[in-house]
């Protein structure tokens, strides 16, 4: 241990209580930062998952005009074989082809406009969670069955239950009339009112014949192992469909542009509060170190008179601050991570969560998301700001005159 470090260590414990108070402020703020940031990241992850799961998926292959202009004509041919070859080449089953159309849906007594999704019964449950949210009934028996699953709100609006027939009326891809009678086999409840009211799924082959689509469809949804691998997967898919210039691969951020913006807006306002917290901690460090420099003016005067360079004294002060900040970082992060880890297993909820959860489409319990980034970004910034705050007290030493310093009160 070199002499500066040893002196810094001893200096710190000359005022135990003061040092612990300052370290305590850092521990508290670090703990809070680790906890809040993990919680935030966790809720963002859930928001993304819950928004993308019912339908969107992580990536979609579409006709290049479809995203801006979702018309039935903006489809592409051979969608089922393309999805099958992608499943083979990417070695994953989480790829499903779909068709999308709008139609008027009528029960005996009521009619509603509706978005119809033609899906592959075998693969759709792997890319979206609607098939798993069936409250009543079951999923499709075959890809060409005249069957439909609808949401709870729509079922109530139309006054139908399992086994009832619905009449679909819309326009086919060639502009002709599309009309069919389908049997309700399942009713799902996603909790998202818009989906439960406006969306329904049919088997893809039946959908294609109903809307005169031939082999056409509108999107192939792909789900990656997790969010971090989406862009790598997108590049691979891009290469695989390079021979189909009419197609594009879009990631969830393009498909649901509001989602990332909502997250960014929330993050920005949160960072404003974190900034206040961090600045307060930095000022408390500044206060402590300035006091400890001022009260040692005579001591520093003597050391200067003995021939120690001001730079050496400056580094002594910085080392003291470093040790303090490091203590705060280590203890605060450890405590914060421990709490966040516990909650990431047990889940976390507070009064009034249900309403907010419904609004932002997240479940009622949130699970903080722990990662190196979410743990260290807040405490890291506190650490750096504390060191910066020590520059002023340390800098004062360069303007100390040994003789007057020794006589200072």
């Amino acid at each position: 241990m070199n002499i500066t470090l040893r002196m810094a260590w001893r200096n710190l414990w000359r005022h135990k209580r003061r040092t612990w108070l300052t370290v305590g402020a850092m521990i508290f703020s670090n703990l809070l930062l680790v906890f809040m940031i993990s919680l935030q990241f966790g809720s963002y992850r859930m928001m993304i998952d819950n928004t993308l799961k019912p339908y969107t998926g992580h990536l979609q292959i579409q006709h290049k005009a479809y995203n801006d202009d979702p018309k039935i004509r903006n489809s592409f041919a051979g969608i089922v074989p393309l999805a099958a070859s992608l499943r083979r080449q990417l070695n994953t089953r989480k790829i499903a082809a779909r068709g999308v159309a709008f139609a008027m849906t009528s029960s005996k007594t009521r009619s509603w406009g509706l978005q119809l999704i033609g899906v592959e019964p075998e693969f759709e449950p792997l890319v979206s969670n609607l098939p798993g949210l069936l409250k009543q009934g079951c999923y499709f028996s075959a890809s060409d069955a005249a069957e439909i699953i609808i949401g709870t709100v729509l079922a109530r609006n139309l006054g139908v239950t399992i086994g009832d027939e619905l009449t679909l009326l819309g326009g086919g891809r060639d502009g002709s009339f599309a009309a069919g009678i389908v049997k309700v086999t399942g009713i799902f409840e996603s909790g998202n009112n818009t989906i439960d009211r406006n969306m329904a799924q049919l088997p893809l082959a039946y959908f294609q014949s109903l809307f005169t689509m031939q082999t056409h469809g509108h999107n192939i949804a792909i789900v990656a192992q997790d969010l971090t691998r989406v862009s790598a997967l997108q590049q691979r898919v891009n290469k695989l469909i390079a021979n189909r210039p009419e197609l594009v691969v879009l990631d969830w951020n393009h498909l649901q542009p509001g989602l990332k913006q909502a997250i960014q807006a929330d993050l920005t306002s949160a960072w404003f509060m974190y900034g206040v917290l961090i600045i307060l901690v930095a000022f408390s460090v500044l206060n402590t170190q300035l006091m400890s420099v001022l009260e040692r003016t005579r001591e520093f005067g003597i050391m200067l008179a003995l021939g120690i360079k001001p730079a050496r004294l400056g580094s002594l002060i910085l080392t003291e601050t470093f040790i303090m900040s490091f203590l705060g970082l280590a203890l605060g992060t450890a405590l914060g991570a421990a709490i966040a880890f516990y909650l990431s297993v047990a889940g976390f909820s507070y009064p009034g969560m249900e309403e907010m959860a419904g609004k932002f489409n997240i479940p009622e319990r949130i699970y903080p998301s722990l990662s190196l980034l979410s743990i260290f970004i807040g405490p890291g910034i506190v650490f750096i700001c504390s060191l910066l705050a020590a520059i002023y007290p340390a800098g004062r030493l360069f303007f100390l005159h040994p003789v007057s310093a020794m006589r200072a009160v």
Binding site: R73, F102, M104, S106, R110, S111, W112, G113, T167, L169, G171, D174, G175, S176, F177, A179, G180, I181
Partner: protein, 249 residues
């Protein structure tokens, strides 16, 4: 299918206006009455044009009074038998494929009618322009020996209408030359224009009418009238759900 363009196509026969500044409400009223007659029967072709495709349908239409009409598709075979019945602002549609009559819900009224650029509302609510709008004569001009009136129609505050303003151009023989639909920001959205005017059924009418989106030049729907007969005796039994389902004509 006469009701459909009725909103848009007003036309009339003879009897030019004498007064220098006619009442715009009366102008529209007369244009509509004369386009419709007390009742009518017409045969027409509707062509839907898109940048990459186009299709035509032949249709027959019967009307009676202001609020009753029946339209039935004759050709192509695939779509034959599809029909629409309008009565007092209610609309039903029949699809032979599923052999069902469906009442069109109000939430679907602004959707496209039979895949065209006309909305269900364009087809069914043709008299709204008379009782739910405030009219103002914007301009009077002479052209090809006719006097042309340009009328601005603004819907009442409480009218269930998506448009902010409509501009209607009527010739002095009550042929409606143009009908432009503008949104709340006063930007034109779609325009219906008479592309051909001729004598049909004893009246001068717009025989080819095109509805076009303003921001998409290649998207339009054209209705061309082959034959029209006015003041025919259309029995009430024609405008019933059972007649919609089982054509007897």
């Amino acid at each position: 299918m006469k009701r459909l363009p009725a909103v848009l196509l007003l036309c009339l026969f003879s009897s030019p206006l004498y007064s220098a500044a006619p009442d715009p409400q009366t102008l529209i009223q007369k244009a509509m009455n004369h386009w419709r007659g007390l009742s009518s029967y017409s045969e027409m072709t509707m062509t839907i044009h898109r940048p990459d495709w186009q299709r035509s349908m032949s249709m027959r239409s019967w009307t009676k009074g202001d609020k009753t009409s029946l339209v039935r598709v004759i050709k192509p075979r695939k779509d034959a038998g599809n029909g629409t019945l309008t009565k007092d602002n209610n609309m039903w549609t029949f699809a032979p494929k599923v052999n069902r009559i469906i009442k069109v819900p109000s939430s679907m009224m602004s959707q496209s009618w039979m895949g065209s650029d006309f909305s269900n509302k364009d087809i069914s609510k043709s008299t709204d322009i008379l009782d739910q709008y405030q009219h103002k004569l914007l301009q009077t001009r002479e052209q090809d020996g006719h006097t042309i009136y340009v009328i601005e129609s603004i819907p009442h505050e409480d009218a269930a209408v998506v448009w902010g303003k409509e501009i209607i151009t009527i010739r002095d023989d009550y042929v409606m030359l143009e009908h432009q639909f503008r949104d709340q920001d006063d930007l034109p959205v779609k325009t219906m224009k008479a592309r051909q005017i001729k004598q049909l059924g004893g009246r001068t009418v717009a025989s080819v009418i095109r509805m076009a989106k303003v921001d998409a030049v290649e998207e339009w729907t054209e209705i061309s009238i082959q034959d029209i007969q006015f003041d025919r005796d259309n029995p009430d039994s024609l405008f019933t759900l059972s007649s919609l389902r089982n054509p007897r004509q």
